[in-house]
Amino acid sequence: MILKTLSKEFKESFRNGKAKIAFSIVVILLFTSVWLSMQKYNNANKEYLKATESERHIWDNQGEKNPHSAAHYGTYAFKPKQPLSLIDKGVDKYVGTTIFLEAHYRNEAQFSAAADQTGTSRFGELTPDFILLFLIPLLIILLGYNIFTKEKEQGTLFLLKSSGASINQLTLGKWLSLFIPIFLCTTIVFIIAGILLSNLNDYGTFSWTSLISMWSIYIGFYIVFINIVMLISYVSKRSGLSLVIALSVWIFTCLVTPKIASTLAENKYPYPTRQEFQAMVTKDKKQGLDGHNTWNEEAQLLKEKVLKEYKVDSLHQLPFNFDGYRMQKGEEYQAAIYSKHYNNLKAQYENQNKTYKTLAAISPFLPTRFLSMSIAQTDYATHWHFSDAAEQYRIQTQKFLNDNFAQNSVFGDWKYKADSSTWSALPQFNYTPQSLSTIIDTNKSYLIILGLWVLLSFSTLYLTIKLK
């Protein structure tokens, strides 16, 4: 019975011009988007490698210079593209890719792609994730809205029932007829993406496990949608009505809820503006040690402390240059202030996340969206991770430079110049992205919510069919 239903549904879909056209359009778009995405990915990767190399070259060849001048001169950290961004671009477009690392300041990542584009880019982009998240659910609706209603309209449901066919088997057959084409199409795209990625020369951290995890998230999402569409078709009397209801569900879950979620999150837990944030940091900085200002109260205290510690009565008698030492202390103090303010910001973002999680209860789109981009490492959390890593590197760089200053010069000697070979001794900045298990662990709740959606939609479908 299951097989018969399945083959009948397949034949019907195949003979139905509309279904064929829609299916082909989605498949063509999907492959086009993967191809486009691939081009962009390769390009961005090349630029990244070139920029990193050339920036390092500039740093290494600064020539003789005071270490603190080098600190102000600074260096840049560039964000590498993650392999799975080929499939899900996530928030990549909206975050900066370049962080300037200099003395005294923690800078925000600059140059987001969206800021360099016209307003139309806010409609969305032709990327695989757009098709996987928006168009495939629509395709499911198109293929399945009349899966029961057509039997009702043609009167064949009664015939089927009276012929002793088990409704469960019938349902399962119909379910499979929707699931198999979607499953195949998604799987093929993921396999192609996997093959493309593993054939790249510098594919970095690409792992098939991540790809498979991402694939299973999408399959879970489609299962939920298939269940919902079948449920709607089962309870609706006419195909037209079923279609309208299913589409309303799609609009609500995929378009409206994310916007409501972001609006609520913003209203409830607003971010400061850039200027406000900078003003708060500056205010805190003023209250503490200023590495440059000798007459600063904190600087005086530090001086007394160090003199006492080394049992000497003048800064000239110290075994190191106190200027360099004070600069390093100032740097540490400022780093702590940045850490405090960025942690506040992070806390606000965690709060916003709670709003998203709450609303994930009414939309299976949200957990899928978040899981997909976190596995692809194109989510906001990855951006935080990168900018924290860059900040750690900045702190490390400042220590390297200030230590050099303190150890190789005498107090008051601002004319000191470090040797031109000094700079290449600084280790390179290497960003290691989070591991898949860490990502899964931080996104557990979304995984649970999506799992619940799968379970609940299955059981509701089963119970409705059993009871009605």
Partner: protein, 476 residues
């Protein structure tokens, strides 16, 4: 016949609770959207005024210090922060270059969640060091916000589709079509009347709810009637466009489900696919030069400039003999060398930076050429323009800010190179900034949308003379 159609349609709409449901639905959705928009605008206003307040306080402090210096008193300010140094004023006491919202900004978030609404250009900073992007959670940028534009561009057509996809097919499916066909009226004309009536009702509901919500939120529509009417004009033209589409689909379509599918297909095409594809092609045709490569270039130029600071200063003074002649002290400090290098770096980077604007302009021109491929895209742009939150508005602000930054720098540089101390008298003459709103007109959008809709109605009315044959209603 029109009279009967009007009366029965009205009765039917009331009895089927179409009008009631729609009014409540629209009221709820519009209210939420307007509330959100208002909150954003409010926040923006508060931020700007709080920054202004802070600048005023620090200005008052600075002026009193300056006054003390002029009176010959000792002041407890570190040497490099003395306000008699023109560089202190130029860097530590900048003017606020702000882009305040106006009365209608709340209707569209547009690009306002991405860009800053105020900057404080200083003398020392390069143009490309001014950051115009805002600190927003990128997740929020990805999802977008629930504003009036979203409701109008995305949701309103869906409401029209939901209530207009089965006008004719429903009659047939319920068996009433044969009765109707026996009436002395053309079926096409009957569908036309029905859709026009629904359009009128929907327009009345939309205008009334908007009016109520606007007045409830303290928006005085009588203050800027023209904008309100142009807003209403855009919305009505857009609705008429979708009703016209529904009309064509009703006439040429078959059963309800197929009609709904076709209309939804068109919705996806206009709202999701066309803008996405056009944008993609625009980006491919006129790609933005890489920012990372730009950073590299900037670094090399800067590295060179730092190495040759003294030489650069000499060259600079050779190019600007007026500075060298007027100054008797010939005192050269860090700032002299620094500003000369900055000028050089700015000059060298100008073509690189303007390349971005050029490419952005090209992309915008490309979109302008193809804008009518999707009326939704057009309407969204028109609403963003009305709200003053479109890409061009922010570009306009950016250009104004950069021009002011230039003016600001130019004002202080003679002080620096002539080694003239800054006095409180000079402070009265420093440049100030006033944002100039870019004027937009929606008349073309409204006119063309109406024309397209009318054309579609005309095509439907003319091309469907054989509708009765198609519906198998003629007796042969």
């Amino acid at each position: 016949m029109f009279k009967y159609n009007f009366i029965y349609e009205f009765k039917r709409l009331i009895r089927s609770q179409w009008i009631q449901v729609l009014s409540i639905l629209l009221f709820a959705v519009f209210s939420f959207a307007v509330f959100n928009g208002q909150q954003k605008t409010q926040k923006r206003l508060e931020e700007i005024s709080s920054v202004k307040e802070k600048l005023k306080t620090s200005e008052a402090q600075m002026l009193s210090v300056l006054d003390s210096i002029e009176q010959g008193f000792q002041v407890s300010v570190s040497r490099w922060r003395l306000p008699s140094n023109p560089m202190t004023i130029g860097n530590k006491h900048p003017r606020l270059v702000e882009m305040p919202p106006h009365q209608w900004t709340f209707i569209s978030t547009g690009q306002s969640d991405m860009y800053s609404h105020y900057v404080k250009p200083t003398v020392q900073a390069n143009d490309f060091e001014l950051s115009f992007t805002e600190m927003t959670s990128p997740t929020q940028l990805l999802f977008g916000s629930f504003d009036l534009t979203f409701v109008i561009v995305y949701l309103l057509p869906l409401i029209i589709i939901a209530f207009g996809f089965n006008i004719l097919s429903y009659e047939r499916e319920s068996g009433a079509l044969k009765l109707l066909a026996s009436q002395p009226v053309s079926l096409t004309f009957w569908v036309f009347q029905k859709l026009v009536l629904r359009f009128l009702w929907l327009s009345v509901i939309v205008i009334l709810t908007l009016y109520l919500i606007f007045s409830g939120n303290g928006i005085n529509i009588f203050k800027e009637m023209a904008t309100f009417f142009s807003l209403i004009g855009v919305i009505c033209a857009y609705m008429l466009f979708w009703f016209a589409l529904a009309f064509l689909v009703n006439i040429f379509g078959m059963n309800s489900a197929k009609n709904a599918l076709v209309l939804i297909g068109l919705w996806i095409l206009f709202v999701l696919l066309v803008p996405t594809v056009i944008n993609q092609v625009g980006n491919t045709l006129y790609p933005m030069p890489s920012r990372t490569i730009m950073v590299n270039k900037m670094r090399s130029i800067k590295a060179n400039a730092t190495k040759k600071q003294d030489e650069i200063l000499d060259n600079y003074l050779r190019d600007h003999p007026e500075f060298a002649i007027n100054d008797s002290t010939q005192n050269r400090t860090f700032w002299h060398r620094y500003m000369a290098s900055q000028a050089l770096i700015d000059k060298a980077l100008k073509p690189v930076v303007s390349n971005y604007n050029k490419q952005l302009r090209k992309q915008q021109n490309w979109l302008d050429k193809l804008k009518w491929l999707s009326p939704s895209m057009r309407v969204k742009a028109a609403l963003n323009n009305t709200a003053g939150t479109s890409t061009t508005d922010y570009e306009n602000f950016r250009n104004q800010a950069l021009a002011f930054s230039e003016q600001w720098r130019k004002h202080f540089i003679p002080f620096l190179y002539n080694n003239t101390p800054f006095s409180s008298k000079d402070y009265e003459h420093i440049p100030t900034y006033q944002y100039r709103q870019k004027a937009h007109s929606n008349m073309a959008t409204i006119g063309i949308l109406f024309a397209i809709a009318l054309l579609m109605f005309a095509i439907g009315l003319l091309a469907s003379k054989n509708l009765k044959y198609k519906m198998n209603l003629t007796i042969s």
